[in-house]
């Protein structure tokens, strides 16, 4: 029994080690007072300082934030509407195909998607501007928002809340705005947060679709990497890591709210 437990312990430790040790190394070396990542020379914050003084990097950061915000916003609105259509309406023709098509961006190789979007935009004569990139990101994010919102809408539907609102005199629009939307909001926000991280860290699609002058954070990091992994990159990655954990925390706070449950 105890040998079995110890075996289990070792297994878990090595699993988590495999997953997180590289991150730990990265975090440690972001504080290393040396140009190269091999030897420890003492603690410093200078890489972080350099990071925030790098105008190009900061502008890439801003671009990525704006992009993620726009993509998350578009995906949230579209995802809500798509889910509402799927849940609200009685099974319509080609419903299965509709469901499957919404999930395609999740499974399709991003390279194919990137090439496809680029070809389409160029053929359509559309300029490769910020909105083009934001829309492409929204496309990748859509399956995440749909997944989050649809589950919530189904449980709302089952508890006949919209019927109850209409029974009490609310028009369909009032029932949607006063009952369904506020109750679906936690799921919409949760989906939007997920979209935000998906967009923020996206490299492949951005790489294909970003026109001249649009440099997102992952693209910037990639270009910096051409000269090897510098301590600045370590520091930058640590910043992103912290930001991601904060977002995950937010997401958990919004997604798990048992007292907001619509069903009793």
């Amino acid at each position: 029994m105890s040998a079995k437990r110890r075996g289990m312990g070792i297994y878990c430790a090595s699993l988590f080690g495999f997953l997180y040790l590289p991150l730990v190394v990265m975090i440690i070396f972001s504080f290393n007072d040396a140009r190269r990542n091999v030897v420890w020379r003492g603690f410093t914050l200078k890489w972080y300082k350099a990071l925030f003084q790098d105008a190009e990097l900061m502008s890439a950061m801003l671009t990525s934030l704006e992009l993620a915000l726009a993509a998350a916003g578009i995906a949230a609105v579209l995802g809500m509407l798509a889910s509402y259509a799927m849940v609200k309406h009685k099974p319509f023709r080609a419903r299965g195909a509709y469901d499957a098509l919404l999930n395609v961006p999740l499974m399709m190789p991003e390279v194919a998607l990137g090439v496809g979007i680029l070809t389409f935009l160029v053929r359509a004569g559309y300029e490769l501007d910020f909105m083009a990139l934001a829309s492409s990101h929204a496309l990748i994010c859509l399956p995440y928002t749909v997944a989050a919102v649809r589950a919530r809408l189904i449980s709302l539907q089952e508890s006949s809340l919209e019927d109850a609102a209409m029974d009490l005199g609310a028009t369909e629009w009032q029932a949607f705005v006063k009952v369904t939307l506020p109750l679906a909001m936690p799921a919409i926000i949760s989906g939007a947060l997920l979209s935000f991280t998906v967009s923020f860290q996206d490299f492949v699609t951005s790489f294909f679709v970003a026109g001249i002058g649009i440099v997102t954070m992952p693209i910037k990091i990639y270009s910096m990497m051409k000269f090897g992994v510098t301590p600045e990159i370590n520091a930058l990655s640590v910043c992103l890591l912290v930001a991601t954990f904060i977002l995950i925390g937010f997401n958990a706070a919004f997604a798990v709210r048992p007292d907001e449950g619509a069903r009793h």
């Binding site: 508890s159 109850a164 209409m166 029974d167 005199g169 028009t171 109750l183 907001e260």
Partner: protein
């Protein structure tokens, strides 16, 4: 129909896909009446309610409320409110805002709402609950709030879709009487959907018994119980022994039957009812509690007497169920009799000869089944 008819429905037809769920359902509800739609699940009672509420459109038939055809009027413009099976309270609103929801939609002035919310809460005995969150309520309290929300807007008709289904037995019994009292005080017509025949008997002014998308019988609880028209009604309400019989001969007011090919008996008929043709096969119902069992050879005058064999007795606490074999040609067809909750009625002996007896007017000739 009649002058005090508030709601007239019918003849409703509705099919989901190819399967019909309502066939010629017609119903009239009077002002201040407690009407129950009773039947097993899938019988069409909830669909009828949803058509009255405006959530479903009938394929055929009309809904008239206070003399106005509302068939094509959307749910939010109908003067009916619904109490839903799972309450459907808005979890993001307080108790007061839940109750005020309908009035706000109807643009009732806030000052008036401020007055009517506590009134509605007092009606359901939850005064002072205004600021409570929905999640903090028990099942029984949610039920009352759902009721308060539905009556606060003073609808002409209140629809209730198995509102007590999720409550435990004791609470359900309490709520039954309370609902009935509330309905009398408010004077609002209630249309109440349930599959529980006891609930229907306790509360209703009239009951419409549904089966497979049809109304089999509409009547007061007494009428439904005392004179069930079909074998479904007889069996669903209170349970019944149903036998097959052949009409040997008849005269106005009485019929002479051959029961299960072996017992001849005279059955009085309702003078309004026409006699089934001579030689016709009919179904006959006898309530278990109207079958008397005698262990000794004593027979009060005027009863129809059967020689029977006692097959089994089951003591149920408040009653005793006795299984009898009354027919030699059909020994597998057992008759059930109910005796009072007397432990001495329970016999340990099996296969003893006894006498089963019924009053002639406790034998009902049923109409042929629809299906």
């Amino acid at each position: 129909m009649s002058e005090d008819a508030l709601l007239e429905v019918g003849p409703l037809n509705k099919a989901f896909g190819t399967s019909p769920v309502l066939r010629d359902v017609s119903l009239t509800v009077r002002k201040g009446e407690f009407m129950t739609l009773l039947g097993p699940s899938g019988c069409g009672k909830t669909t009828t309610l949803r058509i009255i509420a405006g959530f479903e459109t009938p394929d055929g038939g009309r809904v008239r409320l206070s003399g106005v055809d509302v068939t094509d009027v959307p749910a939010y413009d109908r003067d009916v409110h619904t109490v839903f099976q799972h309450y459907a309270l808005f979890p993001h609103l307080s108790v007061a805002d839940n109750i005020a929801f309908g009035m706000r939609m109807d643009k009732v002035p806030e000052a008036e709402i401020k007055k009517r919310v506590p009134e509605a809460l007092a009606m359901v005995k939850l005064a002072g609950f205004e600021t409570r969150r929905i999640q903090s309520l028990s099942g029984g309290q949610m039920q009352r709030i759902a009721l308060a929300r539905a009556i606060a807007g003073r609808p002409a008709v209140l629809l209730l879709d198995e509102p007590l289904g999720a409550l435990d037995l004791k609470l359900r019994k309490e709520m039954q009487l309370e609902l009935k009292n509330l309905q009398k005080r408010l004077g609002i017509a209630f249309i109440y959907v349930t599959h529980d025949q006891e609930e229907a008997m306790t509360m209703s002014d009239r009951i419409a018994v549904f089966n497979q998308g049809r109304i089999e019988q509409i009547g007061t609880p007494g009428e439904i119980y005392e004179t069930p028209k079909t074998s479904f009604v007889a069996d669903f309400i209170g349970g019944a022994n149903i036998f097959s019989a052949k009409v040997l001969r008849g005269e106005p007011g009485r019929a002479h039957l051959l029961l299960e090919d072996e017992h001849e008996l005279d059955v009085p008929l309702d003078p309004n009812e026409s006699l089934p043709g001579i030689g016709a096969r009919v179904k006959v119902a006898i309530r278990p509690e109207r079958v008397k069992v005698f262990y000794k050879d004593e027979l009060p005058f005027g009863l129809i007497r059967f020689d029977a064999i006692l097959k089994d007795t089951v003591f149920l606490g408040d009653a005793c169920q006795i299984y009898l074999q009354m027919f030699k040609k059909h020994p597998e067809r057992l008759t059930i009799a109910w005796a009072g909750g007397d432990r001495y009625a329970v016999h340990d002996d099996m296969d003893v000869p006894v006498i089963a007896a019924v009053q002639p007017d406790d034998v009902y000739i049923l109409e042929p089944d629809y299906v």
